[in-house]
């Protein structure tokens, strides 16, 4: 009988031994003034708020009627208290910002109360996904606050928040959020299963999770949408998607997603549907243009100059007359310069970054044309392509597009236009094969679903958005009563 007791004790002793190595470990002795009961407070100073301990706990513990440990929860005006006898709780609780109370003579019984210190920045405006119209709040690093932002927008009991802990060392808290009556349970299960299967020592951001739970980790395309906008997350949840919020990360994740969604900005829903459809089409054109224009330049000038009408050709030839390099080298040189500028701009503080942009864009560009290293036509084309690639509203997608241009360039140099189409076919096959949480990535383009086209290449009016997307397989496909929405009054009625 004595052995387990002793073992427990040694476990505790070992813990205390390790803990006391850290300077922020506190183990303090107090005596209650009325009842003369002696007690200990144990906590980690860096995780707890001293104000709470001093103002909301200690006065009551010192001056109140404290006879037993069971009195503690009633004495102190803190809601989160817990009494336990399990020594294993100690480590976990202490590192979550709890304070441990032990009464001398009865050390086996433990009482915890929460005195977590809230550090972190205030809710700011979205910087990556800025929108002119619409809410201006963005997620922050604290999961508590982020959950609050979401919960506030969906105040119904059906909103389920499941919490998991991931990471052997980092013990990161991860929340899965979905609507019980709407989200397909299979999607939730997939997310939960994949999160539970994660075996890693530390997670410091949601991007780790994106990469680990993606269906195909060897794909340059992002298969889960990440966003810093609470409104986008709520819209996704209401649509029937599953959201993931990771403690310590200002980016929430939404899945399953589709390629089309990665090209849609949340501002599309704030603007009139005609305007936003136009913007979407422009963005689509911009992306195609950005990927294809340099490869086409290389292909036509290397192989198929017959394609270009005579008047245009003479302008092109004139601009290239003094240039000693073949088109591919010329294009690679400029593309790499642009990539260098972007990379340098991204690594530098904002103010210096702007200078780099000007120096790079104007000085290097003009100088290289004047030095006869590149043609000015190509300079225009590449600058436009770079500009066009910035129109992608999702940052991850923008990076993918930056990368995609290079294989296209290579194939264009090898086999001209045929090479471009061939690499397009490879990309297309890859996209058809991709899935996001098991759902087809290219939907509604393939498998072709006319019903979901309402919010794909264009965004139709809210009246036409009566159904949830088919690929989510929602339990409740209808969003609103379609018949009421479509009913029209006769003229003069």
């Amino acid at each position: 009988m004595k052995i387990p007791f002793k073992k427990k004790n040694t476990e505790k002793e070992a813990l205390v031994k390790v803990l006391s190595k850290s300077n922020d470990y506190r183990h303090l002795h107090f005596t209650n003034e009325k009842t003369k009961v002696e007690f200990y407070l144990t906590f980690i100073a860096s995780l707890t708020d001293e104000k709470i301990i001093h103002k909301e706990a200690l006065p009551y513990l010192l001056h109140g009627e404290l006879y037993h440990l069971d009195d503690v929860p009633e004495l102190i005006p803190i809601a989160e208290t817990e009494i336990s006898t399990n020594a294993k709780d100690i480590e976990n609780k202490l590192f979550n910002g709890n304070v441990l109370v032990q009464v001398v003579g009865n050390e086996e019984q433990l009482c915890f109360f929460s005195a977590q210190r809230e550090v972190g920045r205030n809710i700011g405006i979205p910087e990556v996904e800025f929108s002119v119209i619409g809410p201006k709040e963005a997620f922050v690093e604290s999961m508590k606050q982020n959950l609050n932002l979401v919960r506030k927008k969906i105040p119904v009991k059906e909103l389920i928040i499941e919490e998991l802990t991931i990471g052997k060392v980092s013990k990161t808290k991860v929340a899965i959020i979905y609507l019980e009556e709407i989200t397909n349970q299979e999607n939730v299960n997939t997310v939960r299963q994949r999160l539970q299967d994660i075996d890693i020592d530390g997670i410091t951001d949601s991007s780790f999770i994106v990469q680990i739970i993606s269906d195909n980790q060897n794909s340059p395309f992002p298969q889960i949408l990440d966003t810093e906008r609470p409104d986008r997350v709520t819209a996704g949840i209401i649509e029937g998607k599953v959201a993931i919020i990771v403690d310590g990360s200002p980016h929430a994740l939404i899945g399953p997603t589709t390629l089309v969604e990665l090209f849609s900005s949340f501002e599309d829903y704030f603007l009139n549907w005609i305007v936003s459809s136009f913007f979407r089409l422009i963005r689509l054109f911009a992306v195609t243009f950005s990927i294809l224009v340099t490869p086409i330049y290389v292909a036509t000038l290397s192989y198929h100059y017959e394609l270009i009408p005579r008047d245009l050709l003479s302008a092109l030839v004139a601009s290239r007359r003094a240039i000693p390099f073949p088109p591919i080298l010329e294009a690679l040189f400029l593309e790499l310069t642009i990539e260098l500028l972007r990379e340098a701009g991204a690594r530098l503080p904002t103010k210096v970054g702007q200078t780099i942009g000007i120096v790079g864009g104007i000085v290097i560009g003009t100088a290289s044309v004047e030095a006869g290293l590149t043609s000015n036509v190509l300079l225009i084309i590449i600058a436009l392509a770079a500009l066009a690639s910035f129109t992608t509203p999702v940052y991850r997608m923008g990076n993918t597009i930056r990368l995609l241009r290079f294989p296209f360039l290579l194939f264009a140099e090898l086999w001209g236009l045929v090479g471009i189409v061939l690499s397009f076919c490879i990309m297309l096959t890859h996209l058809i094969r991709l899935t996001s949480l098991g759902r087809p990535y290219l939907e509604p383009l393939y498998p072709p679903r006319g019903q979901d086209m309402k919010d794909a290449l264009v965004r139709l009016s809210f009246k036409n958005q009566a159904k949830r997307p088919v690929f989510l397989r929602s339990k409740q496909p209808a969003r609103l009563n379609e018949r009421d929405a479509k009913q029209k009054q006769d003229i003069d009625e």
Partner: protein, 366 residues
């Protein structure tokens, strides 16, 4: 004996439209006008209609057979002839689909060599093409269908561009109607068969269709649309080329593109040929998929192992076809085989299936 395919690997009935049309619509479309006009002259458009009607009948026969046995081609053969004979027929079909793959790829390479890059290395280019084909097939039949879908939807704009030939068209070329003999027109129909070939792949992928009954109308619609496209192209071609000049063009469709002129693009055939890559890739994928699928059905070898092996065989075969004559011989041969297969063998097979069904029913009855 029905074959069970997991529900999530099946395709919706309306996607059958794209697979069937894709198989018919490939490399043949670039040069069929000359071949059908060889005998039937400017009356060849009647041949196209005749072939179209014939294809509808054969398609009906295929569906009838498939419904009787509720399986694929192998089940039909086993049902009618027994296991051993069905294996022999199966091997023949494996070869047939391999040949089809080789024809498609080699003809495309040939076109690129003639029109774009004279010294394009057949081996290297076919290697890349076939690698992409293998990559497509590895994604499963749904991916193959997906490529077929995009292979039709994306290059569809090309057909509108043929209207550029209208200002130069002389529709009087088509007159007088019916001044060729019936046998000439029928010969033209026979020559047409390579172009509309391929819809018989339905026999292989039938178990992959969700709710196959519903797919019937889509398959027929696909065949109908192919006939219409061929008709449209043929009429424009016959109006554009005088009869004698047509015989001098191996690929009249490509020659017609030459006339297209826009402020920023001339010589449209370069874009067209490049675009055709998107059309022939799914074509070759379906053929090679069919081939590997039959291997799996007959010998239970994983498609993951057979597909690369078959692709390598195709690659070797493609690289050994050097001259225009050899390529021509190959496509003629495939056309002939396809013709007899589709218009003679399958109707006979239907009769055999129906008889076998009756006999077996009687056996059960007695």
């Amino acid at each position: 004996m029905s074959i069970s395919i997991p529900e999530n690997k099946k395709i919706s009935p309306f996607l059958v439209f794209f697979v069937v049309q894709k198989m018919q619509f490939g490399i043949g479309i670039l040069g069929f006008q000359r071949i059908i006009a060889k005998n039937a002259g400017h009356d060849a458009w009647i041949s196209i209609i005749l072939v179209g009607i014939g294809v509808h009948i054969v398609l009906w026969a295929l569906f009838k057979m498939l419904e009787t046995v509720n399986g694929d081609m192998i089940s039909i053969h086993t049902f009618v002839f027994g296991k051993i004979v069905s294996k022999i027929f199966g091997i023949f079909f494996i070869l047939y689909y391999l040949l089809l793959t080789v024809t498609v790829i080699r003809t495309y390479v040939e076109i690129i060599q003639v029109w774009m890059f004279t010294d394009l290395a057949t081996f290297w280019f076919s290697l890349v093409l076939l690698s992409v084909v293998v990559y497509i097939i590895f994604g499963g039949f749904r991916t193959v269908t997906g490529m077929a879908f995009f292979g039709i939807v994306l290059p569809f704009y090309v057909f509108a561009l043929f209207l550029f030939t209208l200002p130069y068209a002389e529709f009087n070329n088509l007159l007088p109607i019916l001044d060729h003999s019936i046998s000439d027109i029928l010969l033209g129909s026979k020559n047409m068969s390579l172009t509309v070939l391929g819809f018989e792949s339905l026999l292989i992928f039938y178990p992959f269709i969700k709710d196959p009954k519903k797919s019937k109308k889509w398959a027929h619609l696909a065949v109908f649309s192919t006939t219409m496209i061929c008709l449209y192209l043929a009429i424009l071609t016959f109006a554009y080329f005088p009869e004698n000049q047509l015989q001098k063009n191996i690929w009249p469709t490509l020659t017609m593109w030459k006339i297209i002129m826009m402020p920023f693009v001339e010589r449209f055939e370069y874009i067209g040929i490049a675009n055709w890559c998107l059309i022939i890739l799914p074509n070759a994928s379906i053929a090679l998929w069919c081939s590997s699928r039959i291997v799996k059905r007959l010998f239970s070898i994983k498609q993951r192992t057979t597909v690369p092996i078959l692709a390598i065989i195709c690659l070797i075969a493609t690289s050994f076809l050097f001259t225009r004559k050899q390529v021509n011989l190959l496509s003629d041969m495939v056309g002939q085989v396809g013709f007899y297969l589709n218009f003679i063998y399958f109707p006979l097979l239907l009769v055999a299936t129906l008889i076998a069904k009756k006999v077996k029913k009687n056996e059960v009855g007695s």
